[in-house]
Symmetry: C2
């Protein structure tokens, strides 16, 4: 499929593959089946053919989808805008998909993004401002969780819609959401830890990754503004340094998910647990920062993280990326550990392509070929489009579910968009 | 293996199989590898060969193992007591297992039970008396959870040790633990619900099952004492009636895991989720109550639950019991749903045998043969004894882990003990 990435025609062909699959398969699936034309926002719990199997709404996905839709509205590659007003938040029936094929227009994406954002703003915050994790279709509260990733996804959703529409009203909401994320995540005592901090103090990779990628996205949208007294560049740099100092273990050739306060490896199930797809996602966030800032040592860091965690996660027997492994090769307690989930493959497709385009090294092109080919052999649904989410170790789908509270228009279309644009820019 | 259960010699052979595997394989594995000879209590996070891979301790398993050990100490079938004092809580090195084989003696079980109970009492309660979910090897607090199943397992552990030793000191602790479970579970507001009770009030099968089985066990140990103003028999009967009225759906031929306040089926992922092994466990709790009280309508209820949930869970393609299914046959969100876990098979082995012995009907003998044979073809570890815990849908172990925070000496040895005794009593 992607052949020789050093050949310009092959790169253009691969760029077209990502773009076309994104615009003609994946996003139409969500525009057609996911948008809630009655209550606004997006429904992500969809069966194989796109029918809704749970009407509850993920708050993560109101922000993530708003970001994806608004970012695509700026990405070009569309048909001319349809007659649908880009000012209305009432999502029109997706006329194009039922008969003769017509790709969605820019206005369809803007309208969809606005619908998600307006649902998010109207229905997804608790009285104290903290965002829920799930709400009903109508927007009544269901579940609040301790952590605050809903806030990161809201921040990028608001920011992308502001940029796509020029409507500054969304800007303040975006920055407030990121501030709320930072405050809850790093001001001690606001999120009750699961494990007693007196007995076993721990810190996790995930909030640092979210700090980094959200700062990067907001910097692109707003310029280098400040939040809680630091610029976006300072937040991003701080997160990279924390990850490098405490989570990346050159002696173990591994990236930890949780460590002690000074980066100690915690020799228990939870501390030994590696999540290769997650760490590979962190690797490309760091490569992106290295490129933006011209920092060679961060480039080396991101490349090391990618290679080490590929070694840890690539299944030499059946191909694909294992979900969890143990840093010392011991058995893992989480019983779904050998399954192949869709999103680690999206993240690895991005990271390997980025690494290759940044370095020109063949090793990353070969890794990219491997994961791209394995993923496209196993995940896409030939009958109804989009990807299955969950395969067994051998690569067979274990469910026909197309979306859930965890799977919606994010990792896959983000991968397709980024890879399309990276290849296009590489020329 | 179990041939024709209507033949007395076959029943005796099967009884011997369960007894011998229990006393010569499963319990020696835990006595030898699990007991913490330094700090007391039991370690359950064991690798395939029994080596400890996580020293953190499950509070559930301090109570569960104490119950199992003390119950076995009363069950007979042992070598004469060894010289080890049954009064000491210092666990002796298990001399018998390293060279020539010698089955554990009654005193070994009593000592082990006392060690778990003393660790539980000394280290596993928060200052307010609520029990933790996990503690360190030394007994420092790690994790508190909202729900209160640690209390049920503590209640049966204390009660069994009291009965095996005649030491009344454990009796009060047992009854206090059950009272704490009942108070937290059924006094509104003490356990914060995950899902907003204003938006979607729900109730779950699990606390009713735990109410029932714990009341049954305590009634056997104490007689029909009271807790929170009801006798054990009243608590058990109330739980059976709640399950029958609100969770068992004859029109759907299904037992729900969560329902609305009046038993409404909640048409969302969580509400549609069936856990066949769990419901089959509930079925034999109800059969046991039906037999104890001579209640024919509960007998029919338990038999219906067993047959319906067998239909829902038995994998016609690969054999074994699926972990989760959807009441309307829709895809399930929990991604490990098609795996085969050890414990549903233990519960189904008990339930089918009990159903056959109570009714004499061939259909249950045939179900018992099916699940017994499938389980024994796939779960036992021929190299190091005990069972693997997690198989893929095809029946291959996905991990070599022999124990974890979830798997220890409970479902498997309880099954072996109950089946041995039921067959023995059937003669």
């Amino acid at each position: 499929m992607n052949g020789n990435l050093t050949d310009s025609a092959a790169r253009a062909g691969l760029a077209a593959f990502y773009r076309d699959t994104l615009l003609n398969d994946v996003m139409p699936f969500w525009l057609r089946h996911g948008l809630d034309r009655e209550h606004g926002g997006i429904l992500t719990c969809l069966d194989r053919n796109g029918s809704v199997i749970d009407t509850d709404k993920s708050v993560w996905f109101q922000g993530r989808a708003a970001w994806m839709f608004a970012t695509l509205a700026r990405a070009g590659g569309f048909q001319p805008p349809s007659e649908a007003s880009s000012k209305s938040s009432t999502v029109p029936a997706i006329h194009a998909f039922d008969g003769g094929w017509k790709p969605p227009a820019r206005a369809d994406f803007l309208t969809a993004s606005r619908s998600c954002i307006e649902f998010l703003r109207a229905h997804c915050a608790a009285p104290d401002g903290k965002l829920y994790f799930t709400v009903t279709r109508e927007g009544r509260p269901l579940r609040m969780r301790r952590y605050v990733y809903s806030e990161c996804f809201a921040a990028i959703g608001y920011a992308a819609l502001r940029r796509a529409t020029g409507d500054e009203a969304w800007g303040a909401l975006s920055r407030a959401a990121y501030e709320s994320f930072l405050r809850h995540s790093f001001e001690p005592g606001l999120i009750a830890p699961k494990v007693s901090p007196e007995t076993r103090p721990m810190k996790a990779l995930a909030p640092l990754m979210m700090t980094l990628v959200t700062a990067q996205d907001l910097r692109e949208d707003f310029g280098d503004v400040t939040a809680r007294g630091r610029t976006m560049t300072e937040w991003a740099g701080w997160a990279v340094q924390e990850i490098a100092r405490d989570f990346v273990k050159p002696d173990l050739r591994a990236v930890m998910e949780v460590v002690g306060p000074a980066g100690e490896v915690i020799d228990h199930f939870e501390g030994r647990l590696l999540n290769p797809g997650h760490a590979i996602e962190a690797a490309w966030f760091i490569l992106r920062e290295a490129k933006a800032r011209g920092r060679d040592e961060w480039m080396r860091l991101g490349l090391d993280m990618l290679r080490w965690m590929w070694e840890r996660g690539w299944d030499r027997e059946h191909g694909g990326l294992l979900y969890f492994t143990d840093v010392h090769g011991k058995p893992v307690q989480e019983y779904w550990h050998p399954m192949k989930f869709w999103w680690p493959h999206n993240e690895a497709i991005i990271a390997t392509l980025m690494a290759h385009l940044l370095t020109g090294e063949d090793v990353y092109a070969e890794m990219h070929r491997q994961v791209h080919d394995w993923a496209h052999r196993h995940f896409p649904d030939p009958a109804h489009g989009e990807w299955f989410g969950y395969l067994d170790r051998q690569g067979r789908p274990t469910t026909e579910l197309k979306g859930s509270m965890w799977k919606g228009p994010f990792h896959l279309p983000r991968e397709q968009l980024l890879c399309w644009r990276m290849l296009e820019q590489a020329g």
